[in-house]
């Protein structure tokens, strides 16, 4: 092993070591905060190592044989370090570290064993996500892909005593599984056609035009299905809003910054392969843009602060996918990274608010800016970044996405994304105006959140600003789009903010009347019912799966069991009948023997001739 691989191996190994220690040493896990310290320490050192890997910037690979086969191993495990994966390493370890520190305060009231369990899952998640990012082959990626899905399930269901949380966990697990099914079939088909799972080998083949396989479009579409499930793309986005049943730090880490971006990462990682199938790319772009618009419209009518953020995450994932579909992988990954920062900021800020107010409903908050000004400022920084105003990080990445889609001549997706930008600014400032400046009074005596929670918020906010400034100063790179794009996107964002201000702050526009006018009233009606998708899945589940199960149950009970019961009943009855022959009297037996011998004689005399 060469030296350069040690640092990424350390990044990967530390959270795993923390997980193992916490999983095996039960007294430490039950200690709660001590378990948190172990996990945080591992994440901190991993973050430092990840920064080292990122600064080093070299491209390194290391593989070890895994599944042996004739003529070389069938699959390998290893590490693939390149700018994409090292940037992801930094993001994952950073958000993971901050979220774990934040959780110490946010979940401070939890019982110690439950807190230890939480940190055990957190370490496992960090390990799985880092393993996914570093995967040099589809197989390893799939293994870690499932592991992060498992962690997501465990952490959504952290409060498993709550039926709604348990249900949300199961829903998230199964709906992403639906996509994963396509993913695994896709990679196996790809292996069948090319004989390798390795990205490097596949990309080399793609470059040499040796990948002109029949059905490559189908294969890439199936692989994309995995991304649809994980990254909550239409029509499999329904699990993400429900996943908000988990603790808020979990939503910040898994359902905003890291795991849900795994789908985008997959598309970015396999970009050379997707580039060979323009049809699939176009589909990815269209679905992404449509998802962005659909989720944004649902966020506009949502009253639960975390669900607003969840829909906004779905919407921003749509942005990333649209960029990836337009062939602008750079813009897609850039938006992934900046979104990871400011969406984690927003979620943690929302968590701080929920922590002190004790409700998720924005209409029961209000005037929070006066009582918690720091959180308010930080939340507004995140909101401005999400709305895409310069010089914050979100502006540059969003503009890069729009530019990429425009360059790819995808006019309709571009228009949908532009409308989404307007809606994003609107719904986010709707939350800000209602919750932080609204006239309603928050229940109880709200106060500023403890430092352990504000520290990560400050750090994320500063990073959001700094990354934005850095991108602004670097310039050039992202600015491929036409000159009118930057002013236009700023104008859209300002328009959204203005509308929200006029509606929810000044009261110039009555929100009820705005929602009542004709085309909007229909949209309002549909969006409040989530476009019937949840009901549709519910109906499908009830009608199709439960119906099928009933049918199977009937067959099992009445056909399979029926045959067996019939046989066993008749065996018993026949036994009962035949039993009478055994009279227990020796004379009867002798009679039988004698009669048999007689029969034998007769047979010998007559039939043998």
């Amino acid at each position: 092993m060469d030296l350069g691989v040690r640092a990424p191996l350390l990044v990967l190994g530390l959270p795993f070591a923390a997980f193992l220690v916490l999983a095996v040493v039960a007294p430490l896990r039950r200690a709660g905060r001590a378990a948190g310290a172990v996990s945080i320490l591992a994440a901190a050192v991993a973050h430092v190592a990840a920064l080292g890997v990122w600064r080093d910037g070299a491209r390194r690979t290391a593989t070890w044989a895994w599944i042996p086969a004739d003529g070389g191993p069938m699959a390998t495990v290893g590490l693939l370090v390149d700018p994409l994966s090292s940037a992801m390493l930094v993001l994952v370890t950073l958000v993971s570290l901050l979220v774990q520190v934040y959780s110490l305060a946010y979940l401070g009231d939890e019982r110690a064993p439950a807190l230890g369990r939480y940190y055990t899952y957190q370490s496992l998640f960090a390990f799985s996500m880092l393993g996914l990012v570093l995967s040099p082959s589809f197989v390893q990626m799939f293994v870690f892909w499932e592991l992060v899905g498992l962690c997501s399930y465990l952490l959504i269901g952290y409060w498993y005593e709550r039926p709604s949380a348990a249900r949300a966990a199961v829903k998230a697990f199964w709906i992403t599984k639906l996509g994963d099914l396509g993913f695994v079939v896709g990679i196996v088909m790809l292996w069948g056609a090319t004989g390798t799972f390795e990205f490097q080998a596949l990309f080399t083949k793609a470059q040499e035009h040796a990948l002109a396989i029949e059905g490559l479009g189908t294969i890439m579409f199936l692989i994309y299905l995995g991304a649809v499930g994980k990254s909550a793309q239409f029509p499999l986005h329904v699990w993400l809003p429900d996943a908000m049943e988990g603790p808020t730090p979990v939503s910040a880490l898994i359902h905003a910054a890291t795991m849900v971006t795994a789908g985008v990462f997959l598309v970015a990682r396999a970009q050379p392969l997707f580039a060979l199938t323009p049809d699939v790319l176009t589909l990815i772009g269209w679905v992404g843009a449509f998802t962005a618009l659909l989720a944004a419209s649902m966020a506009c009518v949502e009253g639960d602060i975390k669900r607003v953020l969840a829909y906004s995450t779905v919407s921003q994932l749509g942005y990333m996918m649209a960029a990836a579909g337009a062939g602008a992988a750079y813009a897609s990954v850039l938006h992934l990274l900046t979104h990871g920062l400011f969406k984690a900021l927003l979620f943690l800020g929302a968590g701080a608010v929920i922590h002190v107010v004790g409700t998720n409903d924005i209409f029961r908050m209000g005037g929070l800016f006066r009582v918690m000004p720091q959180t308010g400022v930080l939340f507004i920084v995140g909101t401005l970044a999400l709305a895409g105003l310069p010089p914050l990080a979100g502006f540059f990445s969003k503009e890069a996405v729009l530019a990429g889609v425009w360059e790819a001549r995808m006019t309709w997706p571009f228009l949908m994304l532009a409308l989404t930008a307007f809606l994003t600014a609107f719904y986010m400032f709707r939350v800000v105006f209602i919750a932080f400046f609204g006239r309603a009074l928050a229940p109880g005596h709200p106060h500023e959140a403890p430092w352990l929670m504000r520290g990560p918020l400050w750090l994320l906010a500063v990073l959001t600003v700094l990354v934005g400034l850095r991108l602004g100063l670097a310039g050039g790179d992202a600015h491929h789009g036409p000159g009118w794009l930057a002013p236009a996107s700023v104008a859209l964002a300002l328009g959204g903010i203005l509308l929200a201000w006029a509606t929810y702050q000044r009261g110039v526009v009555d929100p009820a009347r705005l929602a009542g006018t004709f085309p909007l009233s229909l949209l309002d009606f549909l969006a409040r019912r989530r476009y019937g998708l949840d009901a549709l899945y519910d109906g499908l589940y009830r009608g199709f799966i439960l119906g099928f199960s009933r049918l199977i149950g009937w067959i099992d009970r009445y056909l399979v069991d029926g045959v067996l019961n019939f046989l066993s009943a008749w065996t018993l009855r026949a036994g009962d009948l035949v039993r009478r022959i055994q009279s227990g009297q020796a004379q009867d037996y002798v009679y039988g023997v004698a009669f048999g011998v007689l029969l034998l004689f007769v047979w010998a005399q007559w039939w043998r001739r």
């Binding site: 227990g584 009297q585 004379q587 002798v590 004698a594």
Partner: protein, 99 residues
Amino acid sequence: MSLYGYLTLAALVFAIGLFGVLTRRNAIGILLGIELMLNAVNINLVAFARFRADVAGLVFTLFTISITVAEVAVGLAIVIAIFRVRRTVEADRLDLLRG
């Protein structure tokens, strides 16, 4: 008297013995039936020895008689043992093996 006469006699005695074995209710009667059947066989053996001028039949007969003695001794001992336990030697009542 020809060989067939003897064989017919033996068959008759055997049938009477078998009838006794099957129909007698008393265990001792059944033993007597078995004796009759064995003696029918003896008649057969002796008859064949005579008409075929073969000594083997006589030797077999001697063996059969001596073994029959042992058999009766064991049989009567079993009947007595049954009587001690069950207080009866009626074959109808001895049906512990009934299914």
